[in-house]
């Protein structure tokens, strides 16, 4: 540490870190544009200028850029010195020459870093009399708007998009005062992380397009801390709401999970909350008639009725919270409860938990993987199944560059210097996947293999680590690299549907532990609460549950937030639901219409994640609380409330839940779930000054007027009995738990840049600690378990089906978000050229799977192994049979484009 002095204030800073970062870590105000905590310094904007003095005697000092100046013991600086302050005002004045004065109509207004820095720097009166430049904007696709006139040429966008996220299609064009940031031509921004431009750009150039279409000022958005429902990474998000409509998703900083960035599934995938096909009424129907709306009480009575007897099966869901699943489990009894995965996936998810618990490797946090200096990816197409991780893996391979820069004594935050010196040197990432992935471009070694061969290869690597097997082979080289790495990482997961692949990953990790290193092992699950639902348990597999219904062993079924057609053999689901409809009741509680709701007898509308609170467990086993952002309109209600009410009405003593916290309390009494109590502040928590935390901002406008067109009396503010948040602007942010705030906002800092005010240090944990609690830790001190290759037979006719995931389209809910629909593609079957030839099919022809009664367009990719077919998971293909399956060319197939063209 070094003691430095800034305007007379003496404080400790890390030796060698840059002065800007050191000042911000002290929560001092110092303006900047081009520096970004994750992107480092380049010294382009010149906004962070300060005066540095040589020694005690030096009175004049010289102007330096804080972001480019390493701090050293005894260094003396001034932010306030007139020379520095005047220069910073000048920088703003220069930037304003061409900046349009369109704040009133600019989407960034009210959360604009340029506005903030302008006010902070004190430039007020325009003295430049020249003409302003105007630019033609580009159509960048359904996610991102483009308004180039607002650009201040800070280079952040291309540095994020190109340098950090590996995108190729956004560049800096031109020179001098005619810099242009865009694509060579109009077109969809290709990167899966393009949405971050909205927050990375300090002005309103890159805007959230869906948000623009239904816009509100930041100060009019209500919010509460939430968790992205898009996948198992569990990124922290800030949904913004107004008038009961979810408007947009912003990143919510988490020092261990998502840092400053989200993926585009997360950012743009939440509009399903407002979708047309939301389930908003209770319904009942007789036979094949239309659903008739019924009162909530009537629906509740049905639920209560089912709670009474044992003649029911309850099917939960990995997209519902632990608490919602638990409530259903309580209601129907553990032995009648099924967590809602396909039977195959249940096994895979349990395997994750087993491997984690076994201590085969240290389970890293998602951001921690950025430190890895050698990575082995086994089977998982991370960019499509757990997208945010791919961005972190992209940073991990930069460790070699950082190492080289360190050797050349270039500060690691000096981004251009590091990149220029290291010339893109990469640490080794080995990728063994079914098809090419978005990480192949940074991989040292890539192989495309079917899952069973990936597993075999993985086991061979494990053997080589243990010293058995040829060093010359690829396995030997990979083993050697992992062994010599300081922080090796193995990533695998359930994505390719083969547990043997994960077992091989565990074997490699175990072998590395045996060999004395400390490997990190991260296994990805597919859905937001896959691990939560797994940990909760339940006595019933899905196939078994469906068979019970089909066979009449149970007559009634309660399905919670689950489209069974995506999870089990559709013909089995049909048979089960048909039998149940005949014999009893099919009560489906969901937030959106699915094939399953279409086959129900009773419907109950439940709240979407933004409309309720609950706990999700992410892929590292971290339980995280999401809070209610806004109240859904009755009768839409949280599932745990429906279920709890029913339990109480049925006289169940174990379900006398007044409040959410009681549900948590009861649930936490289950083994392994004890930590649930500590996950996040309960309803009795209070923020600063003992006050509730307001969901609305202190500048929310029109409080007394916004409903006046309906009723001139001001509405009574609802009281939130379940959380510490209020539904008004009263209260105070902050308090002991740093993450318990509805918005980041500090005096003078209206944009998301203000987050540093709430961090221990720049890029560190939020004050009060990183939120969420790991529900389990790997066994310590036990000998590393061994995982041997189990024998599988793979004989027979037809194709082995391999699930393929897509960031836009494979996740059920985000796939219903209109911007994601626009961005996503149609279902596909991927075959090797030889196999396609054998079926007499060409690219684009329909390929039919009789067993699934579905067809999709063929994509030929020679990376797909012969005898295997990749099926893109989504609306068309959900559940896939395990054995070999016959595929054929479908002469009647019409692609969706063709169908549209015909109409």
């Amino acid at each position: 540490m070094a003691r430095i002095e800034v305007d007379g204030i003496v404080f400790e800073a890390r030796e060698g870190e840059n002065l800007l970062q050191a000042c911000l870590s002290q929560h001092l105000d110092l303006p900047y544009f081009c520096w970004h905590p994750s992107l480092g310094s380049v010294g382009a904007c010149r906004q962070c200028a300060v005066i540095q003095y040589d020694d005690e005697e030096d009175e004049r000092g010289r102007l330096v850029m804080a972001c480019m100046t390493p701090v050293q013991e005894g260094a003396r600086f001034s932010v306030d010195a007139p020379g520095a302050a005047g220069f910073r005002a000048s920088v703003i004045e220069w930037l304003m020459e061409n900046h349009p004065h369109d704040c009133p109509v600019c989407e960034e207004g009210g959360e604009c870093h340029l506005q903030d820095m302008t006010v902070m720097s004190g430039h007020t009166t325009r003295r430049f009399h020249g003409r302003k430049k105007t630019w033609r904007n580009q159509d960048l696709g359904p996610f991102i708007g483009h308004e180039m006139n607002r650009c201040i040429t800070c280079y952040r966008c291309t540095r994020f998009y190109h340098d950090y996220a590996g995108g190729k299609d956004l560049q800096a064009f031109g020179s001098r005062s005619r810099m242009y940031f865009g694509r060579t031509a109009d077109g969809v921004l290709e990167s899966e992380f393009a949405g971050n431009l909205v927050e990375v750009c300090p002005t309103g150039v890159f805007t959230d397009k869906p948000f623009s279409q239904s816009y509100s000022r930041k100060w009019d958005l209500g919010s509460a801390p939430s968790i992205c429902p898009g996948c198992a990474v569990g990124c922290n998000i800030s949904p913004g709401e107004r008038f009961g409509r979810l408007k947009r998703i912003h990143n919510r900083y988490h020092g261990e999970v998502n840092g400053y960035f989200l993926c585009d599934r997360g950012r743009f995938g939440s509009h399903f909350v407002n979708a047309e096909n939301r389930l908003r009424r209770c319904g009942v129907r007789v036979g094949d008639e239309e659903f008739q709306e019924i009162e909530g009480l009537e629906a509740l009575a049905v639920l209560t009725d089912l709670a009474g007897g044992g003649n029911v099966v309850g099917i939960g869901s990995p997209r519902a919270s632990i608490e919602d699943n638990f409530a259903l489990m309580q209601l129907v009894g553990e032995d009648q409860f099924c967590a809602g995965f396909s039977s195959d996936e249940a096994v895979l998810n349990e395997l994750i938990v087993d491997i984690y618990r076994s201590g085969a490797g240290r389970v890293p946090t998602p951001l921690e993987i950025e430190n890895s200096d050698a990575v082995l990816v086994l089977g998982e197409d991370v960019l499509n199944s757990a997208p945010r991780l791919a961005l972190s893996l992209r940073q991990s391979v930069r460790n070699e560059s950082l190492r080289l820069a360190e050797g050349a004594r270039i500060p690691l935050w000096q981004d251009a210097g590091v990149r220029g010196h290291a010339q893109g040197a990469l640490s080794e990432l080995f990728s063994l996947t079914v098809l090419p992935t978005g990480l192949d471009d940074i991989a040292a070694h890539v192989e495309h293999l079917p899952p069973e061969q990936i597993a075999r290869h993985g086991h061979a690597i494990a053997q080589a680590v243990a010293g058995v097997g040829a060093e010359e082979s690829a396995s030997g080289r990979i083993a050697a690299a992992l062994k010599s790495a300081k922080r090796p990482l193995i990533v695998s997961g359930t994505g390719c549907g083969d547990g043997e692949v994960m077992r091989a990953a565990a074997a490699v990790s175990s072998a590395l532990r045996h060999a004395g290193s400390d490997p990190a092992l991260l296994l990805t699950a597919l859905e937001v609460n896959s691990l939560g639902a797994t940990l909760l348990g339940g006595g019933l597999g899905l196939d078994e549950a469906l068979k019970r219904l089909k066979n009449g062993a149970a007559d009634n079924v309660i399905v919670l937030e689950n489209d069974l057609y995506r999870r089990a053999d559709p013909s089995l689901v049909d048979a089960a639901l048909e039998a149940s409809r005949r014999n009893g009741r099919v009560l489906v509680a969901d937030l959106i219409e699915t094939r399953t709701t279409a086959n129900a007898t009773h419907l109950i509308p439940v709240a979407a994640y933004a409309e309720t609170l609950g706990t999700f467990v992410n892929l590292e086993g971290r339980a995280q609380r999401f809070y209610q952002v806004f109240e859904p309109r009755a009768p839409v209600t949280s599932a745990w409330q429906w279920l709890g009410e029913a339990g109480r009405a049925a006289g169940r003593n174990d379900m006398r839940w007044q409040h959410f916290d009681t549900v948590v309390e009861t649930c936490a009494s289950r083994p392994g779930l004890e930590a649930l109590r500590e996950v996040a502040p309960g309803a009795d928590y209070r923020g600063a000054g003992g006050l509730r935390i307001p969901r609305e901002t202190h500048r929310a406008s029109g409080r007394t007027a916004r409903n006046a067109h309906i009723d001139v009396h001001e509405r009574k503010t609802p009281v939130d009995t379940e959380s510490p948040f209020s539904f008004s602007m009263e209260g105070a942010q902050g308090g002991a738990v740093g993450s318990a705030r509805s918005a980041v906002w500090a005096p003078g800092w209206n944009s998301n840049q203000s987050v540093f005010k709430f961090q221990d240090e720049v890029g560190g944990a939020l004050i009060g600690g990183s939120s969420g609690i790991r529900l389990f830790e790997p066994a310590h001190g036990v000998p590393a378990p061994s995982y041997a290759m189990s024998q599988t037979s793979d004989e027979g006719e037809g194709f082995r089906l391999i699930p393929l995931h897509r960031i836009f389209g494979s996740d059920e809910l985000s796939a219903m978000s209109p911007p994601v629909v626009e961005r996503g593609g149609a279902a596909e079957v991927v075959l090797n050229r030889a196999d396609a030839g054998r079926l007499g099919a060409r690219e684009g022809d329909g390929i039919r799977c009789d067993l699934l009664s579905a067809s999709a367009a063929l994509r030929v990719d020679d990376a797909m192994a012969v005898g295997h077919a990749g099926l893109v998971v989504g609306e068309t293909f959900g559940w896939l049979p395990r054995g070999r399956v016959v595929l054929s060319r479908d002469p009647d197939f019409r692609s969706s484009q063709e169908l549209i063209a015909r109409e």
């Binding site: 220069w94 930037l95 009399h129 280079y155 005062s177």
Partner: protein, 437 residues
């Protein structure tokens, strides 16, 4: 007449020196000597002792710079900066067009001295004649065993190639040059790391000006003491001085380092044209501060010019006579510098166009006293070294700052009289420019 190691062959040949003539006149003797009988350290030492200073503008001691190259295994680069886009400067072009082998030989010695096995000439895009001359000379040198796998039959290998610039002034700034050479945007790099430690493709790299490198063969052949003795004052060697403006014989001459300005203008350039009086001069290209009458007896050498508040720069001066409007000249220069800004940092990218706009307003009679204040304000904040990312903007402001100091009268007269006293008829100042923008 004193000795002229840079141009004597050109004069003897009466123009272009082909390969044969070059060898006849002692060509490649120095390179052969260095590569076959000296250690790299000896070569560096000799150049250091000769006190050769960089002719690209900054005057940094060349031998010292070479000494910064770390003794690490792996590839190293020598890059010759032949971008020469400084307005008023055409000395490198003269050397390359007329005596390309001299540069090739200088580069062989320099590359050997720093242990480089790859060398590039980064050539101004418009220098077609230089390109032809250099590529032919490199071909001949290859054929004669002066370049390639085995230089002069030794184990030393060197490849030399010419890269033609896409054409931006900033490509002359050595780190922007390296980015351009690597195929990246021509924006300067942060220092540190300095190129000798981490330059082209992240490897140790020395960037030297054409004229600098052309001095090297003679130093090897004739020794450090001889070279030092060529200079009249503090600095060693000869310098190619140039004069442009309304003199009787504009051109360039190789003269002893430290020749007084007055001698260069009056003797060599033949003095001012009849009817024209000298008002000021930019001693080392467009990016140096004005000097005036009182400075004419100064020696053209690094220290003396610096002490007078300007810079030797490229040593090729631009003269301003009494028929030229200083405001318009400043405007013309700022038009160039604003246009050539790389666009990376704010003060240069946005500040220079504003400065140009203010100058245009003043020149065309729209200027106010406030505009003059704004000009001072902008010049102070843009021009201070360290305020901008690289020295482009610093250089841009040097002539303006000094014009505001020496010719303030003229600026005030424009504002007072709502127009340019030098202009008889109406017409836009900007139209007088080449129209490029």
């Amino acid at each position: 007449m004193s000795e002229r190691p840079l141009t004597e062959r050109i004069d003897a040949a009466g123009g272009f020196v082909d390969g044969g003539r070059y060898e006849e006149m002692g060509g490649y003797v120095a390179a052969r000597q260095a590569v076959t009988s000296m250690t790299p350290q000896e070569v560096c030492g000799l150049v250091k002792d000769a006190n050769l200073r960089g002719r690209g503008g900054a005057g940094f001691p060349t031998g010292v710079k070479w000494g910064f190259v770390p003794d690490v295994p792996g590839r190293k680069y020598l890059v010759c900066n032949a971008d020469e886009m400084e307005p008023g400067t055409f000395k490198d072009r003269y050397l390359m067009e007329n005596d390309p082998h001299l540069l090739v030989e200088g580069m062989i010695i320099a590359a050997y001295a720093i242990g480089a096995d790859r060398a590039y000439v980064f050539l101004r895009g418009e220098y077609h004649e230089s390109y032809r001359a250099l590529t032919a000379a490199i071909g001949e040198a290859h054929a004669n065993g002066c370049l390639g796998e085995s230089v002069f039959g030794t184990t030393y290998a060197l490849e030399l190639a010419v890269h033609r610039s896409g054409g931006r002034y900033i490509c002359g700034e050595e780190t922007a040059l390296l980015n351009a050479l690597e195929g990246k945007r021509a924006q300067p790099r942060t220092k540190p790391p300095f190129p000798p430690a981490s330059g082209a493709w992240g490897r140790p790299t020395i960037v030297n000006n054409v004229e600098t490198l052309c001095n090297v063969p003679a130093i090897i052949r004739r020794g450090a003491e001889w070279y030092q003795s060529l200079g009249l004052g503090e600095d060693s060697g000869t310098k190619i001085y140039g004069v442009s403006g309304r003199v009787k014989r504009p051109g360039l001459w190789e003269l002893p380092m430290g020749t007084p300005i007055r001698e260069i203008i009056e003797q060599h350039a033949g003095g001012m044209c009849d009817g024209y009086r000298l008002r000021g001069l930019l001693p080392g290209g467009a990016s140096t501060d004005f000097l005036v009458e009182e400075h004419l007896d100064l020696a053209m050498e690094y220290g003396a010019i610096q002490a007078a508040g300007s810079r030797m720069g490229t040593g090729t001066m631009i003269l301003m006579d009494d028929h030229v409007c200083p405001v318009d000249m400043a405007r013309n220069l700022q038009h160039f510098f604003a246009q050539e800004s790389c666009g990376f940092c704010t003060p240069c990218r946005e500040g220079l166009p504003w400065v140009e706009q203010l100058l245009l307003d003043i020149e065309e009679g729209r200027g106010t006293a406030e505009d003059l204040e704004l000009l001072d304000h902008n010049a102070a904040f843009i021009g201070a070294p360290g305020n901008t990312f690289c020295l482009h903007a610093t250089g841009a402001i040097e002539p303006l700052m000094s014009a505001l100091k020496y010719f303030r009268e003229d600026f005030e007269a424009h504002i007072r009289e709502h127009g340019c006293p030098y202009r008889s008829g109406p017409g836009s100042a900007a139209e007088a420019d080449d129209g490029a923008n």
